[in-house]
Symmetry: C2
Subunit: 126 residues, 2 copies
DNA sequence: GTCTTATTGATAACGATTATCATTATCATG
DNA sequence: CATGATAATGATAATCGTTATCAATAAGAC
């Protein structure tokens, strides 16, 4: 199983994500890194985002729009704006009253979705 | 504001979704409807899925894989299998002990994501 | 029945992501 | 160090889910 090697590009992707809180798309990361590393390729960004996600170092946020990435992996939740499509952090601390969430947040929350991931009963036995 | 007209195709899409619990993709619905309505077009299925979702009659479930649809709009949650990619219902009743969810469910839950939707503070004032 | 126009079916176009492949860089080894 | 194996890259073609286009059809108000 192919050992990982160091790569300036991968480091740059990870660092970029750890420094920002705006949940960028792959292209956002690419455009941002191009400034300091003009030769970087969009394919390399995609590749490393996938790799870093599989390593658990970043999170992929699947939205109606395009996929977004989060370099901060502590447990927290997200909000997507129906208008501007931005993704914002929503920290849900112990004791947070979900009914007051809208008020505390400032925006308007109209719905939510909760998705669980794992292995289904069928695949578990195979 | 163009009034909606009746359409056999739209009715068929809605009926198809209300009769199944497997969270089909647009293509799944298309292939299923083609049996009883051979002339239906994939574009028509996509169009009506989007329309029905905007009317609140069905739910769109965005996954890493492709979008899936649910004709049952009561509040409930979903599980995606990392292996087979299927989407299963997960009813979370009052009093459900989330810590026992894995046991009750039969599969293995390794993570989850919670997304809120609405209008962000910035867009709210515009 | 007639007219307006919402809806359809067929297909081209689009856009995000992935695959391909020759070249380059990493790094264990001699 | 120099070298060889191969992971990683950059450039770009290919893929695939979804949307746009447009002429033909059908709903339904009159």
């Amino acid at each position: 199983m192919s050992a990982l090697r160091n790569s300036k590009q991968r480091d740059a992707v990870l660092r970029n994500l750890s420094e920002r809180y705006d949940h960028p798309t792959a292209e956002d990361v690419y455009l941002s890194l191009k400034k300091e590393m003009p030769s970087i390729s969009l394919a390399t960004v995609y590749r490393n985002l996938k790799l870093l996600e599989s390593e658990g170092l970043i999170l992929k946020i699947t939205t109606d729009d395009s996929d977004r990435f989060d370099g901060h992996t502590h447990e927290h939740y997200h909000f997507t704006c129906r208008d501007c499509k931005r993704v914002l952090d929503l920290e849900l601390r112990d004791g947070t009253d979900v009914n007051n969430l809208t008020k505390d947040f400032g925006g308007t929350i109209t719905s939510h979705s909760l998705m669980f991931f794992g292995i289904c009963p069928d695949c578990k036995v195979l």
